[in-house]
Assembly symmetry: C2
Homo-oligomer: 501 residues x 2
């Protein structure tokens, strides 16, 4: 057993190295690479992706898994060995279904696609991205067909990001969320005057915003000795090991909320990545359980912590040190309400907690139509704008504010968006559990102390890495499945108070 485990780990370690190398190349592409480097970079990423795939689907790995499975009956389900075999088997079977040529095509199409998307977004010119997106959607559909599915090709894509989750389940959860959120949005729309957000119409120096963000992230517990933050057009987090985690953010003088809440959000991903058990290193287990679970961590820190009254009781005085003029005479109560102002807006990542999920519902529906071939790619900008008008009552003026705003499709990430809303649900479920275990958490947040909450997440979520499926992990921790109730209760309580409903 030991011999095969060692052999399996040795193979997985080298595959991990190639994948992490590709991650470094992607990080560089989105942070520092000159635009002219895109074509060569696409080739490099494609070669790495193709090779990692070839190595992973090798018969040798299948044989090792078979030998290990035959003798793993008496292993503890929770042991590293049993988990390694179980998770590697799941990913192996999935990967074996994907032809190597398709994997290479996807890597190349999306690397180039990212560059074209950047250009298209900068010029708000969807036509520049359209042919490449068409190619990417076609490749995604080929991928779904290769992976197989019972009812819906979208199931096959969703499963990559949220193992075990089905399109129909997502649709049902989203229906419950919608039923709770739409009346709330309507009630708030009659009370818009209750919150004054005009303090953010002022300019805030970029360097000072950056410094304040670093100070906050350090206090939260993101370890800058094992990571860093850089600037990227579309913020993301990636990691090359638990000791090298890269956050990115963007900072605009006239959009104060963008940098700080974006940075806190990414640091939630980053702290998760820094918290995997180091013994899982260089295996498939050294990553998040799923994107939904990942997002539960980022949204926890961004919203439940970062947009709470207690958080700003501690941080507003410090922020006034950076911006004494802009924040002169602003009370915590005023600031708290301003950062939580609910108003329909075009850009998902800047949406408030209440309307955020409506952005996700829209993308989930459009992706389903794309994958089922029920909408032409050329018609996407129009469809997007129509749905925005239907859900949020506003219509984007151009494609940059609409269909081009998100990086995901350029990377071939279709089936990814729903995980953001699932993360919102989970963030509240997990936070409630942490507080039940450690009732001092709300008071500690007020005091600028985050280790009670972070430690709980480390012990209950982070340390496990990818050992458990999201369903297993949620069941282990909550005793049940993912639910909409806690999230809806959290959001209704918070916003009823703010808007005096």
């Amino acid at each position: 057993m030991d011999v095969q485990i060692r052999q399996l780990r040795a193979r997985l370690a080298e595959i991990n190295d190639l994948r992490k190398a590709a991650a470094v190349l992607n990080w560089d592409m989105q942070t520092y690479m000159p635009a002219a480097g895109a074509e060569s970079r696409a080739e490099q990423v494609s070669t790495l992706g193709k090779t990692a795939h070839q190595w992973f689907v090798a018969d040798e790995i299948g044989q090792l898994l078979e030998e290990l499975e035959a003798r793993s009956g008496d292993l503890d389900y929770d042991s590293l060995e049993a988990s390694l075999v179980r998770v590697t088997r799941r990913e192996y079977d999935r990967a074996r279904k994907l032809p190597t040529a398709l994997v290479a095509d996807l890597a190349q199409a999306t690397s180039l696609g990212h560059s074209l998307w950047q250009q298209a977004r900068a010029r708000s010119d969807f036509a520049r991205f359209e042919p490449q997106l068409e190619k990417i959607v076609d490749l995604a559909l080929q991928k779904a067909e290769a992976l197989g599915y019972d009812e819906n090709p979208y199931d096959a894509l969703l499963d990559e990001f949220e193992p075990g989750m089905k399109t129909a389940q997502v649709a049902a959860l989203f229906e419950e969320m919608r039923a709770g959120l739409v009346p709330l949005v309507e009630a708030i729309s009659d009370r818009v005057a209750a919150v004054d957000g005009s303090l953010f119409d002022q300019g805030f120096d970029r360097d000072k915003q950056w410094e304040f963000g670093i100070e906050v992230l350090t206090a939260l517990g993101f370890d800058f000795d094992r990571g860093r933050q850089d600037i990227a057009a579309h913020p993301f987090t990636t990691s090359f090991s638990t000791n090298d985690v890269r956050l990115t953010t963007r900072v605009y003088p006239h959009q104060f909320k963008t940098a700080i809440f974006g940075s806190i959000h990414e640091s939630g991903h980053g702290m998760y990545n820094q918290g995997f058990d180091p013994t899982l290193n260089r295996t498939l287990l050294s990553s998040g359980a799923s994107l939904g679970v990942h997002e539960s961590q980022s949204r926890l820190w961004e919203n439940i912590v970062g947009r709470s009254r207690g958080f700003w009781i501690h941080w507003l005085p410090r922020l006034k040190h950076y911006f004494p003029i802009q924040l002169d005479g602003i009370s915590v109560e005023h600031f708290y309400r301003a950062i939580n102002r609910v108003h329909p807006s075009f850009i998902r990542v800047e949406a408030d907690e209440v309307t955020y999920n409506l952005h996700i519902f829209l993308r989930f529906e459009i992706e389903n139509l794309m994958i089922q071939g029920q909408v032409k790619i050329a018609d996407l900008p129009e469809l997007w704008n129509d749905r925005m008008e239907e859900y949020l009552g506003i219509r984007p003026a151009d494609a940059a504010q609409g269909v081009l705003q998100d990086v995901h499709w350029s990377h071939g990430l279709i089936g990814y968006f729903p995980t953001y809303a699932l993360g919102n649900l989970l963030s509240v479920q997990l936070y409630n559990l942490a507080v039940a275990d450690r009732p001092e958490i709300p008071a500690s947040i007020k005091a600028g102390e985050y280790s009670p909450l972070l430690d709980w997440m480390r012990d209950h979520i982070h340390v496990h890495g990818r050992k458990y499926t999201p369903v297993e992990l949620i069941e282990r921790e909550t005793g049940g499945p993912i639910r909409t109730g806690p999230f809806l209760e959290y959001i209704q309580t918070k916003y009823s108070e703010i808007y005096d409903l």
Copy 2:
């Protein structure tokens, strides 16, 4: 023929992708990576290096080369096809001699070695680097033995950086140089008062130094749309394609000359890398002919252009715009003499043109002793300091100023240093040729116009990439071999005038 050329190019393209991926990882390691990431990064670089090596030494490439060689008799020697076969054969035969395990060991030892060297240098603590350096030297010796040599194991190492050059030839050239330089250094030492360098004892704002550097590099012809400059502890240039070339520099408030001349130096490498014929892309030909030829380009721009009177006739007024107080009342003549002040100093990369080569002679001798096992690694700091005292009359106070100053050995680059002095020789030979062809060059430099010189280098040197050996290239251009005469004449003329000898 076409089929095999296509097959060979396809294989080389993927190998190139892995090597370039490793280059991105190395660039990141030296610019942005948190120190804690070093161990994982070493593993990643090792896996990429090992894999690229395995792919390159595959029998398939040997077979393709044989088939192509059998039918290449009627090909033009200068054609891409003939050159590709010729150069790939040379590198293939060399690589086949290296066991894969040794290549992996070297990659891992040097990736970790770089990190240990950084720590040792920061603390001026040679002991922290010593065991790893011992390992690296041992691996270099194993490499020399695997490659084979007639007389001297050092020949085998030197050949990687300067194909065709022998240790004995280097020693003879260095002897000629020494014979010319030592009397010059002595004559200058009697005339130190002739040059006042005290203007550089002032502080110069880092951001302004950076901006000025970018302005100069842009004017020289480094294309920032196809490259960038970042900060690194030990500046270097790397490229991921002709469209993505990365310079690095370091900027200190109290060492004005470090940033500007370092940046110009690296831009010389960078312009060479941007100038390879694009049709050579993703082959072994898309790189410099040798390190000596590479260094001829960097030293050309740094010294012959950047430390010339004509250069500062154009740039001093502009520099005064950035530093009006520090440069108040400073004439071009004063500035020109100050930047060319000759004085023995500890750090090679900051040495003046006259003493620079003495630093190289010292390293060449020490490397020979190391490789022949005639010095213990533990004794290197002492040996280094003794030789410094002998050559330059000064003794480093600590290892950071002495044996730890250069990054090269941590990367396993033994046999590399001589190429710096060879580059100095070549830079003058090539510049003289360019001026003979285009007599307007000196005047154009005075006017801040560099395209006559850059275009000549593009057409005569850059475009060829690695198609020709250094010997072939120098023979093609100069009609003879590398020579010390032009360099010694240049340096004697320039410094006799400055020091009124």
